[in-house]
Protein backbone atom coordinates (compact mmCIF):
# COMPACT_ATOMS: atom_id res chain seq x y z
CA UNK A 1 0.00 0.00 0.00
CA UNK A 2 1.36 3.38 -0.95
CA UNK A 3 1.64 6.29 1.45
CA UNK A 4 -0.95 9.00 0.61
CA UNK A 5 0.47 12.36 -0.47
CA UNK A 6 0.96 14.90 2.27
CA UNK A 7 -1.92 17.17 1.23
CA UNK A 8 -4.30 14.21 1.28
CA UNK A 9 -3.14 13.45 4.81
CA UNK A 10 -3.87 17.00 5.92
CA UNK A 11 -7.29 16.91 4.30
CA UNK A 12 -8.16 13.63 5.98
CA UNK A 13 -6.93 15.01 9.30
CA UNK A 14 -9.16 18.06 8.83
CA UNK A 15 -12.23 16.05 7.83
CA UNK A 16 -11.85 13.32 10.45
CA UNK A 17 -14.46 13.73 13.16
CA UNK A 18 -12.65 11.64 15.77
CA UNK A 19 -10.76 14.60 17.14
CA UNK A 20 -7.76 14.11 19.36
CA UNK A 21 -7.42 17.73 20.49
CA UNK A 22 -9.46 20.96 20.71
CA UNK A 23 -7.18 22.46 18.05
CA UNK A 24 -8.17 19.75 15.59
CA UNK A 25 -11.85 20.26 16.40
CA UNK A 26 -11.49 23.97 15.65
CA UNK A 27 -9.46 23.35 12.50
CA UNK A 28 -12.16 20.93 11.31
CA UNK A 29 -14.89 23.52 11.92
CA UNK A 30 -12.88 26.18 10.08
CA UNK A 31 -12.13 23.89 7.15
CA UNK A 32 -15.73 22.74 6.73
CA UNK A 33 -16.88 26.37 6.93
CA UNK A 34 -14.31 27.33 4.29
CA UNK A 35 -15.46 24.53 1.99
CA UNK A 36 -19.03 25.84 2.20
CA UNK A 37 -17.92 29.45 1.73
CA UNK A 38 -15.77 28.75 -1.31
CA UNK A 39 -18.73 27.09 -3.02
CA UNK A 40 -20.33 30.56 -3.31
CA UNK A 41 -18.63 32.40 -6.23
CA UNK A 42 -20.08 35.87 -5.47
CA UNK A 43 -18.97 35.75 -1.85
CA UNK A 44 -15.57 34.48 -2.93
CA UNK A 45 -15.33 37.41 -5.37
CA UNK A 46 -16.17 39.80 -2.53
CA UNK A 47 -13.51 38.22 -0.36
CA UNK A 48 -10.92 38.54 -3.13
CA UNK A 49 -11.65 42.26 -3.59
CA UNK A 50 -11.44 42.83 0.16
CA UNK A 51 -8.14 40.93 0.35
CA UNK A 52 -6.80 42.99 -2.59
CA UNK A 53 -7.86 46.16 -0.77
CA UNK A 54 -6.02 45.08 2.36
CA UNK A 55 -2.93 44.17 0.33
CA UNK A 56 -3.06 47.50 -1.53
CA UNK A 57 -3.26 49.39 1.75
CA UNK A 58 -0.50 47.32 3.35
CA UNK A 59 1.93 47.52 0.41
CA UNK A 60 0.93 51.02 -0.77
CA UNK A 61 4.53 52.35 -0.97
CA UNK A 62 5.51 49.48 -3.27
CA UNK A 63 2.38 49.47 -5.43
CA UNK A 64 2.06 53.23 -5.95
CA UNK A 65 3.94 54.61 -8.94
CA UNK A 66 4.29 58.16 -7.59
CA UNK A 67 4.34 60.05 -4.31
CA UNK A 68 0.63 60.73 -3.59
CA UNK A 69 1.39 64.20 -2.22
CA UNK A 70 3.92 65.32 -4.82
CA UNK A 71 2.57 68.26 -6.85
CA UNK A 72 3.60 69.11 -10.36
CA UNK A 73 1.48 71.91 -11.80
CA UNK A 74 3.03 71.42 -15.21
CA UNK A 75 1.40 68.00 -15.39
CA UNK A 76 -2.05 68.95 -14.01
CA UNK A 77 -5.25 67.28 -15.25
CA UNK A 78 -3.54 64.82 -17.57
CA UNK A 79 -5.81 62.06 -18.91
CA UNK A 80 -5.19 58.35 -18.43
CA UNK A 81 -1.84 57.28 -19.86
CA UNK A 82 0.91 54.77 -19.32
CA UNK A 83 2.82 57.27 -17.15
CA UNK A 84 -0.23 58.09 -15.05
CA UNK A 85 -2.56 55.08 -15.15
CA UNK A 86 -5.57 56.98 -13.81
CA UNK A 87 -4.43 60.45 -14.92
CA UNK A 88 -3.49 63.38 -12.67
CA UNK A 89 -5.54 65.81 -10.62
CA UNK A 90 -5.67 69.62 -10.70
CA UNK A 91 -2.38 69.88 -8.76
CA UNK A 92 -0.61 67.34 -10.94
CA UNK A 93 -0.74 64.52 -8.36
CA UNK A 94 -0.99 60.94 -9.65
CA UNK A 95 -4.59 59.70 -9.15
CA UNK A 96 -3.61 56.02 -9.13
CA UNK A 97 -1.10 56.57 -6.31
CA UNK A 98 -3.59 58.64 -4.33
CA UNK A 99 -6.17 55.91 -4.82
CA UNK A 100 -3.77 53.29 -3.45
CA UNK A 101 -2.88 55.39 -0.43
CA UNK A 102 -6.56 56.30 -0.03
CA UNK A 103 -7.26 52.59 0.56
CA UNK A 104 -5.33 53.01 3.83
CA UNK A 105 -7.63 55.80 4.99
CA UNK A 106 -10.73 53.88 3.98
CA UNK A 107 -9.62 50.69 5.72
CA UNK A 108 -8.42 52.60 8.76
CA UNK A 109 -11.85 54.17 9.22
CA UNK A 110 -13.80 50.98 8.49
CA UNK A 111 -11.69 48.79 10.79
CA UNK A 112 -11.48 51.31 13.63
CA UNK A 113 -15.24 51.88 13.59
CA UNK A 114 -15.86 48.12 13.62
CA UNK A 115 -13.41 47.55 16.47
CA UNK A 116 -15.12 50.26 18.54
CA UNK A 117 -18.67 49.26 17.66
CA UNK A 118 -18.41 45.47 18.08
CA UNK A 119 -17.58 45.33 21.81
CA UNK A 120 -19.97 48.18 22.69
CA UNK A 121 -22.81 46.49 20.83
CA UNK A 122 -22.03 43.14 22.48
CA UNK A 123 -21.85 44.48 26.02
CA UNK A 124 -24.90 46.74 25.78
CA UNK A 125 -27.03 44.18 23.92
CA UNK A 126 -26.05 41.14 25.99
CA UNK A 127 -26.47 43.01 29.29
CA UNK A 128 -29.89 44.34 28.25
CA UNK A 129 -31.04 40.96 27.01
CA UNK A 130 -29.67 38.72 29.73
CA UNK A 131 -30.05 40.86 32.85
CA UNK A 132 -33.37 42.35 31.75
CA UNK A 133 -35.50 44.52 34.06
CA UNK A 134 -34.55 48.15 34.50
CA UNK A 135 -31.09 47.55 32.98
CA UNK A 136 -32.82 46.54 29.77
CA UNK A 137 -35.15 49.56 29.86
CA UNK A 138 -32.37 52.10 30.46
CA UNK A 139 -29.98 50.66 27.88
CA UNK A 140 -32.65 50.29 25.21
CA UNK A 141 -33.97 53.84 25.67
CA UNK A 142 -30.42 55.18 25.24
CA UNK A 143 -30.14 53.04 22.10
CA UNK A 144 -33.45 54.44 20.87
CA UNK A 145 -32.18 58.01 21.27
CA UNK A 146 -29.15 57.25 19.10
CA UNK A 147 -31.31 55.40 16.58
CA UNK A 148 -33.58 58.43 16.25
CA UNK A 149 -30.82 60.51 14.61
CA UNK A 150 -30.19 60.19 10.87
CA UNK A 151 -26.67 58.80 10.82
CA UNK A 152 -25.06 61.26 8.41
CA UNK A 153 -26.62 64.24 10.21
CA UNK A 154 -25.37 63.03 13.60
CA UNK A 155 -21.93 62.40 12.14
CA UNK A 156 -22.01 65.86 10.55
CA UNK A 157 -22.96 67.53 13.82
CA UNK A 158 -20.29 65.58 15.66
CA UNK A 159 -17.56 66.38 13.14
CA UNK A 160 -18.60 70.01 13.15
CA UNK A 161 -18.48 70.16 16.97
CA UNK A 162 -15.16 68.34 17.39
CA UNK A 163 -13.55 69.72 14.27
CA UNK A 164 -12.92 67.92 11.00
CA UNK A 165 -10.44 65.03 10.85
CA UNK A 166 -10.27 61.27 10.46
CA UNK A 167 -10.35 60.46 14.20
CA UNK A 168 -13.43 62.56 14.75
CA UNK A 169 -15.05 61.06 11.67
CA UNK A 170 -14.41 57.62 13.19
CA UNK A 171 -16.03 58.62 16.49
CA UNK A 172 -18.94 60.22 14.68
CA UNK A 173 -19.57 57.15 12.52
CA UNK A 174 -19.15 54.78 15.48
CA UNK A 175 -21.84 56.71 17.38
CA UNK A 176 -24.33 56.03 14.63
CA UNK A 177 -23.39 52.41 13.97
CA UNK A 178 -23.47 50.78 17.44
CA UNK A 179 -27.24 51.02 18.20
CA UNK A 180 -28.39 48.51 15.54
CA UNK A 181 -25.64 46.12 16.66
CA UNK A 182 -26.77 46.38 20.30
CA UNK A 183 -30.37 45.76 19.22
CA UNK A 184 -29.34 42.72 17.23
CA UNK A 185 -27.33 41.25 20.13
CA UNK A 186 -30.22 41.89 22.54
CA UNK A 187 -32.70 40.14 20.25
CA UNK A 188 -30.38 37.16 19.85
CA UNK A 189 -29.72 37.07 23.60
CA UNK A 190 -33.44 36.96 24.36
CA UNK A 191 -33.78 33.80 22.30
CA UNK A 192 -30.99 32.07 24.28
CA UNK A 193 -31.63 33.45 27.76
CA UNK A 194 -34.07 30.72 28.77
CA UNK A 195 -32.34 27.94 26.84
CA UNK A 196 -31.61 24.79 28.82
CA UNK A 197 -27.86 25.10 28.39
CA UNK A 198 -27.94 28.54 30.00
CA UNK A 199 -30.13 27.24 32.84
CA UNK A 200 -27.73 24.30 33.26
CA UNK A 201 -24.83 26.73 33.62
CA UNK A 202 -26.82 28.79 36.14
CA UNK A 203 -27.60 25.67 38.16
CA UNK A 204 -23.89 24.89 38.20
CA UNK A 205 -23.19 28.31 39.63
CA UNK A 206 -21.94 30.29 36.60
CA UNK A 207 -22.01 34.06 37.22
CA UNK A 208 -23.59 36.72 35.02
CA UNK A 209 -20.31 37.72 33.35
CA UNK A 210 -19.40 34.09 32.64
CA UNK A 211 -22.76 33.36 31.04
CA UNK A 212 -22.71 36.56 29.01
CA UNK A 213 -19.21 36.20 27.60
CA UNK A 214 -18.74 32.43 27.39
CA UNK A 215 -22.28 31.29 26.57
CA UNK A 216 -24.19 34.11 24.90
CA UNK A 217 -21.51 36.04 23.02
CA UNK A 218 -20.29 33.01 21.01
CA UNK A 219 -23.86 32.42 19.85
CA UNK A 220 -24.42 36.05 18.84
CA UNK A 221 -21.02 36.34 17.19
CA UNK A 222 -21.97 35.00 13.73
CA UNK A 223 -24.88 37.39 13.22
CA UNK A 224 -22.82 40.30 14.56
CA UNK A 225 -19.93 39.46 12.25
CA UNK A 226 -22.38 39.37 9.33
CA UNK A 227 -23.96 42.64 10.41
CA UNK A 228 -20.60 44.37 10.82
CA UNK A 229 -19.38 43.13 7.44
CA UNK A 230 -22.52 44.45 5.79
CA UNK A 231 -22.03 47.66 7.80
CA UNK A 232 -18.53 48.10 6.36
CA UNK A 233 -20.10 49.25 3.12
CA UNK A 234 -22.20 51.92 4.81
CA UNK A 235 -19.25 52.96 6.99
CA UNK A 236 -17.15 53.44 3.87
CA UNK A 237 -19.96 55.39 2.22
CA UNK A 238 -20.48 57.59 5.29
CA UNK A 239 -16.73 58.20 5.54
CA UNK A 240 -16.67 59.10 1.87
CA UNK A 241 -19.69 61.33 2.40
CA UNK A 242 -17.98 63.13 5.28
CA UNK A 243 -14.84 63.44 3.18
CA UNK A 244 -16.91 64.79 0.30
CA UNK A 245 -18.39 67.43 2.64
CA UNK A 246 -14.92 68.34 3.89
CA UNK A 247 -15.46 66.94 7.40
CA UNK A 248 -13.44 63.72 7.08
CA UNK A 249 -9.83 63.40 6.06
CA UNK A 250 -8.24 66.80 5.47
CA UNK A 251 -6.20 67.78 2.42
CA UNK A 252 -3.66 66.93 1.27
CA UNK A 253 -4.24 63.43 2.74
CA UNK A 254 -5.71 61.15 0.05
CA UNK A 255 -9.25 59.98 0.80
CA UNK A 256 -11.67 58.61 -1.79
CA UNK A 257 -14.65 60.75 -0.81
CA UNK A 258 -12.58 63.95 -0.67
CA UNK A 259 -10.93 63.06 -4.01
CA UNK A 260 -14.32 62.69 -5.64
CA UNK A 261 -15.41 66.02 -4.13
CA UNK A 262 -12.39 67.92 -5.39
CA UNK A 263 -12.74 66.45 -8.86
CA UNK A 264 -16.32 67.58 -9.33
CA UNK A 265 -15.20 71.10 -10.33
CA UNK A 266 -13.45 69.57 -13.32
CA UNK A 267 -16.09 66.95 -14.03
CA UNK A 268 -16.55 67.91 -17.70
CA UNK A 269 -12.83 68.28 -18.50
CA UNK A 270 -11.39 65.53 -16.33
CA UNK A 271 -14.04 62.85 -15.60
CA UNK A 272 -11.42 60.50 -14.08
CA UNK A 273 -10.98 62.70 -11.00
CA UNK A 274 -14.48 61.84 -9.79
CA UNK A 275 -15.22 58.61 -11.62
CA UNK A 276 -12.17 56.64 -10.50
CA UNK A 277 -12.53 57.21 -6.72
CA UNK A 278 -16.29 56.74 -7.16
CA UNK A 279 -15.70 53.39 -8.85
CA UNK A 280 -13.34 52.39 -6.04
CA UNK A 281 -15.97 53.23 -3.41
CA UNK A 282 -18.61 51.33 -5.37
CA UNK A 283 -16.40 48.27 -5.85
CA UNK A 284 -15.30 48.03 -2.23
CA UNK A 285 -18.82 48.60 -0.84
CA UNK A 286 -20.17 45.96 -3.18
CA UNK A 287 -17.41 43.54 -2.19
CA UNK A 288 -18.17 43.95 1.51
CA UNK A 289 -21.88 43.42 0.85
CA UNK A 290 -21.24 40.24 -1.14
CA UNK A 291 -18.84 39.01 1.53
CA UNK A 292 -21.43 39.70 4.24
CA UNK A 293 -24.11 37.83 2.30
CA UNK A 294 -21.78 34.88 1.85
CA UNK A 295 -20.93 34.87 5.55
CA UNK A 296 -24.63 34.91 6.37
CA UNK A 297 -25.17 31.81 4.28
CA UNK A 298 -22.51 29.85 6.13
CA UNK A 299 -22.55 31.29 9.64
CA UNK A 300 -26.23 31.89 10.31
CA UNK A 301 -27.31 29.12 12.68
CA UNK A 302 -30.76 29.17 11.12
CA UNK A 303 -29.27 27.85 7.90
CA UNK A 304 -27.12 25.23 9.60
Amino acid sequence: MSVPPKSEGLRAWLLNEDFSSPAQARAHQAYVTWLRFSANPLALGGLIVVVLLVLAAWFAPWIATHDPLEQDLARALLPLSSAHWFGTDELGRDVYSRLVYGARTTLYIAILVTVIVGPIGFVVGAAAGYVGGWVDTVLMRITDIFLAFPSLVLALAFSAALGPGIENAVIAIALTVWPPVARLVRAETLTFRKADFVVAAELQGAGVARIMFLYIVPLCAPSVVIRLTLNMASIILTAAGLGFLGLGAQPPAPEWGAMAAQGRQYLLDAWWLTAIPGMAILLVSLAFNLLGDGLRDILDPKNA
Binding site: S20, D196, F197, A201, P218, P301
Partner: protein, 256 residues
Protein backbone atom coordinates in the same frame (compact mmCIF):
# COMPACT_ATOMS: atom_id res chain seq x y z
CA UNK B 1 -32.09 13.78 51.66
CA UNK B 2 -34.73 16.14 50.30
CA UNK B 3 -37.53 17.52 52.44
CA UNK B 4 -40.17 19.76 50.95
CA UNK B 5 -42.73 21.38 53.23
CA UNK B 6 -45.84 23.18 52.10
CA UNK B 7 -44.28 24.27 48.81
CA UNK B 8 -46.33 26.67 46.72
CA UNK B 9 -45.34 28.15 43.38
CA UNK B 10 -47.51 30.79 41.76
CA UNK B 11 -47.02 32.66 38.48
CA UNK B 12 -48.47 36.16 38.47
CA UNK B 13 -49.83 38.17 41.38
CA UNK B 14 -53.09 38.80 43.26
CA UNK B 15 -56.35 37.02 42.56
CA UNK B 16 -55.34 36.17 38.99
CA UNK B 17 -52.18 34.37 40.09
CA UNK B 18 -51.86 30.92 38.63
CA UNK B 19 -50.91 28.57 41.48
CA UNK B 20 -49.08 25.77 39.72
CA UNK B 21 -47.88 23.91 42.82
CA UNK B 22 -50.24 24.04 45.82
CA UNK B 23 -48.77 23.17 49.19
CA UNK B 24 -46.79 20.04 48.41
CA UNK B 25 -45.09 18.04 51.19
CA UNK B 26 -42.62 15.36 50.23
CA UNK B 27 -39.61 13.56 51.66
CA UNK B 28 -37.03 11.68 49.62
CA UNK B 29 -34.61 9.44 51.49
CA UNK B 30 -30.91 9.06 50.67
CA UNK B 31 -30.37 6.64 47.80
CA UNK B 32 -34.04 6.54 46.96
CA UNK B 33 -35.58 7.06 43.55
CA UNK B 34 -38.70 9.15 43.79
CA UNK B 35 -40.95 9.37 40.76
CA UNK B 36 -43.34 12.15 39.87
CA UNK B 37 -46.00 11.38 37.28
CA UNK B 38 -48.83 13.42 35.91
CA UNK B 39 -50.03 14.95 32.68
CA UNK B 40 -48.60 18.08 31.08
CA UNK B 41 -49.20 21.22 33.14
CA UNK B 42 -49.82 19.44 36.44
CA UNK B 43 -46.84 21.23 38.04
CA UNK B 44 -44.39 18.34 38.24
CA UNK B 45 -41.62 20.10 36.29
CA UNK B 46 -42.17 23.29 38.31
CA UNK B 47 -41.81 21.31 41.55
CA UNK B 48 -38.56 19.82 40.24
CA UNK B 49 -37.41 23.27 39.11
CA UNK B 50 -37.96 24.66 42.61
CA UNK B 51 -35.84 21.88 44.13
CA UNK B 52 -33.14 22.43 41.49
CA UNK B 53 -33.07 26.21 41.92
CA UNK B 54 -34.39 26.95 38.44
CA UNK B 55 -37.75 28.26 39.66
CA UNK B 56 -36.98 31.13 42.01
CA UNK B 57 -40.26 32.41 43.45
CA UNK B 58 -41.63 29.70 45.67
CA UNK B 59 -42.98 29.76 49.20
CA UNK B 60 -42.58 27.08 51.82
CA UNK B 61 -39.42 25.28 52.83
CA UNK B 62 -36.95 23.06 51.01
CA UNK B 63 -34.23 21.25 52.93
CA UNK B 64 -31.51 19.44 51.01
CA UNK B 65 -29.04 17.23 52.90
CA UNK B 66 -30.05 18.89 56.16
CA UNK B 67 -29.49 22.43 54.88
CA UNK B 68 -32.28 24.88 54.19
CA UNK B 69 -32.02 26.39 50.71
CA UNK B 70 -33.23 29.87 49.79
CA UNK B 71 -35.40 30.60 46.78
CA UNK B 72 -33.17 33.14 45.04
CA UNK B 73 -29.42 32.63 45.28
CA UNK B 74 -27.68 29.51 46.54
CA UNK B 75 -23.98 29.22 47.39
CA UNK B 76 -21.81 27.03 45.16
CA UNK B 77 -21.59 24.27 47.77
CA UNK B 78 -25.39 23.95 47.79
CA UNK B 79 -25.65 24.05 44.00
CA UNK B 80 -23.13 21.25 43.71
CA UNK B 81 -25.24 18.94 45.86
CA UNK B 82 -27.90 18.47 43.20
CA UNK B 83 -27.69 18.57 39.42
CA UNK B 84 -30.32 18.43 36.75
CA UNK B 85 -30.73 16.48 33.51
CA UNK B 86 -33.05 18.15 31.04
CA UNK B 87 -35.70 16.79 28.75
CA UNK B 88 -34.36 17.93 25.41
CA UNK B 89 -30.77 16.85 24.71
CA UNK B 90 -30.77 19.13 21.66
CA UNK B 91 -31.35 22.24 23.76
CA UNK B 92 -29.42 21.41 26.90
CA UNK B 93 -25.91 21.40 25.38
CA UNK B 94 -24.30 24.62 24.16
CA UNK B 95 -24.11 24.24 20.35
CA UNK B 96 -20.70 25.92 20.08
CA UNK B 97 -18.96 24.22 22.98
CA UNK B 98 -17.18 20.92 22.41
CA UNK B 99 -18.10 18.05 24.72
CA UNK B 100 -14.77 18.64 26.45
CA UNK B 101 -15.63 22.28 27.10
CA UNK B 102 -19.15 21.41 28.29
CA UNK B 103 -17.69 19.02 30.87
CA UNK B 104 -14.81 21.33 31.84
CA UNK B 105 -17.06 24.33 32.55
CA UNK B 106 -18.58 23.06 35.85
CA UNK B 107 -15.12 22.05 37.06
CA UNK B 108 -13.77 25.52 36.28
CA UNK B 109 -16.72 27.25 37.97
CA UNK B 110 -16.16 25.23 41.13
CA UNK B 111 -12.36 25.46 40.95
CA UNK B 112 -11.92 21.70 40.99
CA UNK B 113 -8.44 20.42 40.14
CA UNK B 114 -7.46 17.33 38.15
CA UNK B 115 -9.87 18.22 35.35
CA UNK B 116 -8.46 16.07 32.56
CA UNK B 117 -8.84 12.87 34.55
CA UNK B 118 -12.32 13.84 35.74
CA UNK B 119 -13.56 14.53 32.21
CA UNK B 120 -12.22 11.19 31.00
CA UNK B 121 -13.81 9.43 33.94
CA UNK B 122 -17.18 11.11 33.39
CA UNK B 123 -17.24 10.07 29.72
CA UNK B 124 -16.38 6.53 30.69
CA UNK B 125 -19.10 6.52 33.37
CA UNK B 126 -21.80 7.27 30.81
CA UNK B 127 -20.34 4.89 28.25
CA UNK B 128 -19.08 7.36 25.65
CA UNK B 129 -15.82 6.58 23.82
CA UNK B 130 -12.98 9.04 24.36
CA UNK B 131 -12.88 9.98 20.66
CA UNK B 132 -16.15 11.92 21.14
CA UNK B 133 -14.48 14.24 23.61
CA UNK B 134 -13.64 17.04 21.19
CA UNK B 135 -16.76 16.80 19.07
CA UNK B 136 -19.52 19.37 18.95
CA UNK B 137 -23.06 18.42 19.99
CA UNK B 138 -24.30 18.49 16.39
CA UNK B 139 -21.93 15.64 15.63
CA UNK B 140 -23.67 13.38 18.18
CA UNK B 141 -27.01 11.57 18.14
CA UNK B 142 -29.80 12.35 20.59
CA UNK B 143 -28.95 9.45 22.87
CA UNK B 144 -25.26 10.35 22.87
CA UNK B 145 -26.10 13.95 23.71
CA UNK B 146 -28.24 12.84 26.62
CA UNK B 147 -25.29 10.79 27.85
CA UNK B 148 -23.17 13.95 27.71
CA UNK B 149 -25.86 15.83 29.66
CA UNK B 150 -25.80 13.09 32.30
CA UNK B 151 -21.99 13.22 32.40
CA UNK B 152 -22.16 16.99 32.89
CA UNK B 153 -24.52 16.51 35.83
CA UNK B 154 -22.35 13.78 37.36
CA UNK B 155 -19.00 15.53 36.99
CA UNK B 156 -19.63 17.69 40.07
CA UNK B 157 -20.22 14.48 42.05
CA UNK B 158 -23.66 15.48 43.31
CA UNK B 159 -25.58 13.28 45.72
CA UNK B 160 -28.91 14.08 44.03
CA UNK B 161 -29.81 13.88 40.36
CA UNK B 162 -32.96 15.67 39.25
CA UNK B 163 -34.26 14.15 36.03
CA UNK B 164 -36.79 16.14 34.02
CA UNK B 165 -38.30 13.71 31.50
CA UNK B 166 -34.83 12.44 30.57
CA UNK B 167 -36.05 10.04 27.90
CA UNK B 168 -39.18 11.57 26.41
CA UNK B 169 -37.34 13.36 23.59
CA UNK B 170 -35.52 10.20 22.52
CA UNK B 171 -36.35 7.33 20.17
CA UNK B 172 -37.98 4.38 21.86
CA UNK B 173 -34.94 2.19 21.18
CA UNK B 174 -32.65 4.73 22.88
CA UNK B 175 -34.98 5.31 25.84
CA UNK B 176 -34.26 1.90 27.35
CA UNK B 177 -30.50 2.47 26.98
CA UNK B 178 -30.63 5.75 28.89
CA UNK B 179 -32.93 4.31 31.57
CA UNK B 180 -30.60 1.37 32.10
CA UNK B 181 -27.62 3.74 32.27
CA UNK B 182 -29.41 5.77 34.95
CA UNK B 183 -30.27 2.58 36.83
CA UNK B 184 -26.65 1.37 36.74
CA UNK B 185 -25.30 4.73 37.87
CA UNK B 186 -27.60 4.74 40.87
CA UNK B 187 -26.70 1.22 41.85
CA UNK B 188 -22.99 1.95 41.53
CA UNK B 189 -22.78 5.30 43.33
CA UNK B 190 -25.84 5.38 45.57
CA UNK B 191 -27.33 8.53 44.05
CA UNK B 192 -30.70 9.90 45.04
CA UNK B 193 -33.02 10.47 42.08
CA UNK B 194 -36.11 12.56 41.59
CA UNK B 195 -37.56 11.56 38.23
CA UNK B 196 -40.30 13.50 36.51
CA UNK B 197 -42.19 11.84 33.69
CA UNK B 198 -45.61 11.60 32.15
CA UNK B 199 -44.88 7.99 31.29
CA UNK B 200 -45.87 5.61 34.07
CA UNK B 201 -43.79 2.80 32.57
CA UNK B 202 -40.58 4.88 32.71
CA UNK B 203 -41.21 5.82 36.33
CA UNK B 204 -42.08 2.27 37.33
CA UNK B 205 -38.88 1.03 35.69
CA UNK B 206 -36.64 3.18 37.89
CA UNK B 207 -38.48 4.37 40.97
CA UNK B 208 -39.23 2.85 44.35
CA UNK B 209 -41.93 5.35 45.28
CA UNK B 210 -44.21 7.09 42.84
CA UNK B 211 -46.19 10.26 43.49
CA UNK B 212 -49.11 10.98 41.18
CA UNK B 213 -49.68 14.65 40.67
CA UNK B 214 -52.76 16.46 39.39
CA UNK B 215 -53.47 20.21 39.39
CA UNK B 216 -50.52 21.02 41.65
CA UNK B 217 -51.18 18.47 44.43
CA UNK B 218 -50.28 14.83 45.04
CA UNK B 219 -53.38 12.69 44.67
CA UNK B 220 -51.59 9.52 45.71
CA UNK B 221 -48.14 8.32 46.73
CA UNK B 222 -47.70 4.68 45.95
CA UNK B 223 -44.90 2.14 45.67
CA UNK B 224 -43.72 0.42 42.53
CA UNK B 225 -44.94 -2.93 43.79
CA UNK B 226 -48.38 -1.58 44.57
CA UNK B 227 -48.46 -0.02 41.12
CA UNK B 228 -47.55 -3.32 39.44
CA UNK B 229 -50.05 -5.31 41.54
CA UNK B 230 -52.76 -2.76 40.74
CA UNK B 231 -53.24 -1.80 44.39
CA UNK B 232 -53.85 1.85 43.65
CA UNK B 233 -56.80 3.75 44.99
CA UNK B 234 -57.25 7.11 43.31
CA UNK B 235 -59.17 7.02 40.01
CA UNK B 236 -56.59 9.29 38.32
CA UNK B 237 -53.76 6.94 39.28
CA UNK B 238 -55.80 4.07 37.92
CA UNK B 239 -56.31 5.95 34.66
CA UNK B 240 -52.57 6.65 34.23
CA UNK B 241 -51.78 3.03 35.05
CA UNK B 242 -54.24 1.74 32.47
CA UNK B 243 -52.81 4.15 29.94
CA UNK B 244 -49.30 2.79 30.44
CA UNK B 245 -50.46 -0.75 29.72
CA UNK B 246 -51.02 0.25 26.14
CA UNK B 247 -53.89 0.26 23.73
CA UNK B 248 -56.23 -2.68 23.76
CA UNK B 249 -58.86 -2.82 21.04
CA UNK B 250 -62.40 -2.91 22.35
CA UNK B 251 -63.08 -6.25 20.66
CA UNK B 252 -60.30 -7.87 22.72
CA UNK B 253 -61.95 -6.91 26.00
CA UNK B 254 -64.55 -9.51 26.96
CA UNK B 255 -68.02 -8.00 27.20
CA UNK B 256 -69.61 -7.55 30.57
Amino acid sequence: MIEVENLTVAFGHGPRANRVVRGIDMTVGAGECFGLVGESGCGKSTLLGAIAGRVKHWQGAITIAGEKVGPVKRPLAQLRRQQMVFQDPFGSLHPRHTIDRTLMEPLRIHGIADREARVEKALEQVGLPGRFRFRYPHQLSGGQRQRVAIARALILEPSILLLDEPTSALDVSIQAEILNLLKDLRERSGLTYVLVSHDMAVVAHLCDRIAVMQDGVFVEISSRDAMIRDEVHHPYTRMLREGSLGYRPAAAVPPG
